[in-house]
């Protein structure tokens, strides 16, 4: 899952980005509203986390611009003001959620997961595909009660595939959602990671869940081909 995070406080920005990455998210971060809009225009995000008080364009203005383009991407506001009118203003402007500073990182992660889930119409943290199970909170993956160890990137790839199970995802889509702008690898990075994932998910079992659609991309499904 790829997140855009805009926060003008340097230290806080760095800490939250670290925490997101450790929690298995891909993060692009910036320090002002205008950069946030530029990032949002250039990539596809699953969740946007905005600080309200930012130099240049503030959180409200960024949100207004995003919503004016009729985009449904979930937005979470971070605000240092807890006055009710501030929260109401944010929610009315089209924010999906808000957190008041100081906040707990754990809670921020949980809320971001909720927003991701809801954008894929999932009610629980547990994603299933046949006998394959993925817990987005604990990052644990099992197939037929057998735990499977995945690296961060492999996990992110599997999570994205499972959120979209039954749907073909292009290499571009996958790359956009799993790798941030810091990554400048070759174009076959997706194929490489799909390979790693197959080694762990499919190879030890008799049914193959990760399918390749030649010329388009990949999908995961438990239906027999």
């Amino acid at each position: 899952m790829r997140i855009l995070f805009a926060e003008d406080e340097q230290d806080l920005n760095k800490i939250v980005v670290d925490a997101f990455e450790e929690a298995g998210f891909t993060v692009d971060s910036c320090m002002n509203g205008q950069d946030a809009i530029d990032y949002w225009k250039a990539a596809e995000y699953d969740v946007i986390v905005l600080d309200v008080m930012m130099p240049g364009k503030d959180g409200y203005e960024v949100l207004e611009e995003i919503r004016s383009k009729n985009t449904q991407v979930p937005v979470l506001f971070l605000t240092a003001r807890d006055a009710i009118e501030e929260r109401v203003r944010g929610l009315d402007a089209g924010a999906n959620d808000y957190l008041v500073k100081p906040f707990s990182l754990e809670e921020l992660m949980a809320r971001v997961r909720v927003l991701t889930r809801s954008s894929y119409n999932k009610a629980s943290n547990i994603l299933t595909c046949g006998e394959l199970e993925l817990d987005t909170a604990s990052k644990r993956v099992t197939r037929g009660k057998q735990p499977i160890d995945l690296t961060t990137k492999e996990y992110q790839l599997l999570e994205y595939l499972m959120y979209n199970q039954g749907t073909i995802l292009t290499r571009k889509q996958i790359e956009d959602h799993i790798w941030n702008f810091d990554y400048e690898g070759g174009t076959n990075v997706v194929d490489v990671y799909i390979g790693y994932l197959r080694q762990k998910i499919d190879k030890p079992f008799n049914s193959k869940m990760i399918r390749t659609k030649r010329g388009t991309g990949y999908m995961i499904t438990d239906e027999e081909a």
């Binding site: 230290d11 800490i15 925490a19 130099p55 003001r81 008041v100 500073k101 100081p102 990182l105």
Partner: protein
Amino acid sequence: MKKLSIRTRIFLLFSSAMILMMIIMFILVRIISASVMKQTLSEYLISAVDSNALMLVYMTPEEVEQAKVYDADDLYLEYGDGYLQVDDDFLDILNDVESALYDAEGNLIYGNNPLSRELAGEAFTDSRIYEKKISGKEYIVYDRKFIEENLEGLWIRGTVPLSQEEIQVFRISTSMAAFLPLLIMIVILVSAFAARSILKPIRHMEETAEQIAGGEDLNRRIELPQNKDELYGLATTYNDMLDRLEASFARERQFTSDASHELRTPLAVIMAQIEHVSSKDRSVEEYKSAFDTVDRQSRRMKRLVEDMLNLSRIAQGEKRYPVTELDLSVLVQNVCQDMGLFNYKGITLDSNVTEGIMLRGNADLLERMLVNLIDNAYKYGRDNGNITVTLFINDDGKKALIVTDNGIGIDEKSKDKIFDRFYREDSSRSGASGYGLGLSLVREIVQFHGGHISVESVVNVGSKFIIEF
């Protein structure tokens, strides 16, 4: 008197003034009418005496014989070589005026009334009115001397009792006194009405004020009376006060909200940092970096709290910050020396201080002021830039302290706002974790010392803060 309501006081003052006035009027009427009466009586007396004087004619014996044929009723008295004819119209008692005829020696010639005999022999005063007490009663007396031929030496004396006049005055007074209770009643009613109607707009104002005081709503204002009288002034003053109160409350609320916002941000960083670093085992470098962050952010909070405290203390005036005569030059040099060691972005700090400039002030505050200004210059200065601090006596004879930098500058529209609490220049936030109380405190300190601060700045060229004491 103090326990009474204003309305009662107005009523009492008004009605007692009116009653007092009525009593004075009453007394005046008595005095004036008495004097008018006396005047009238005197005139009455004179005219009675004068008309009697016309009734007296001297006649030779031949004339008497002739006259007797026509005026048999008249009295003929022997006088000198002839006779005095006293017409029967000579009235020795006319109403209250009693008149009598005397010769030069004061012997009664004509006039039959009790007083005439009693007054016989009294010395005459010519044509003069005077008062005389005769057997316990006051009288007005008028003597008239005859100067006509053959009548020389004769006198007519008229008297009228003064009691007559008193009776008249008494009559007027009593008829007035009969109306007095009625008049007092009217006075009381009018006073009560006046007190009520004068205080009506005040009561109205009081009600509005009560509503404002009772509720949380400071938006309400007192309705202004239609005519611009004293109450209009009072209502306007009151409304102005409410405006200021409301604005001051709003500022206070804004300050509290801003302060909590400013404190929440470093607090959020500290809490997030600690949560993040303790979520699993970290390397020594990670711990070190976390400690650095916590250190930096807690210092930021400390400064913010200190500035807030200073701002609120400075409002309490000299009690908190005693002022002494101090050497400003030494103070500025010391601060520059300390701050010059602060190696940040390669910026250099120069100072150009005229020695021996004294100022009455508080050393802690003045230090804080200069530190904040230099700190600001560092924060918004360019890499390898320069800061200059100058202290001298300017052309106006004032002590001028100037802090100049060649940093990013301040744009025109922000110039007025930089001294506002928690104002932060947007474009200048690139990396510098600014807090919005520094310049506000600087201004408060300058004002505390009776000085003035101004700023000259050009974007991307630099800023110049000028303080004059």
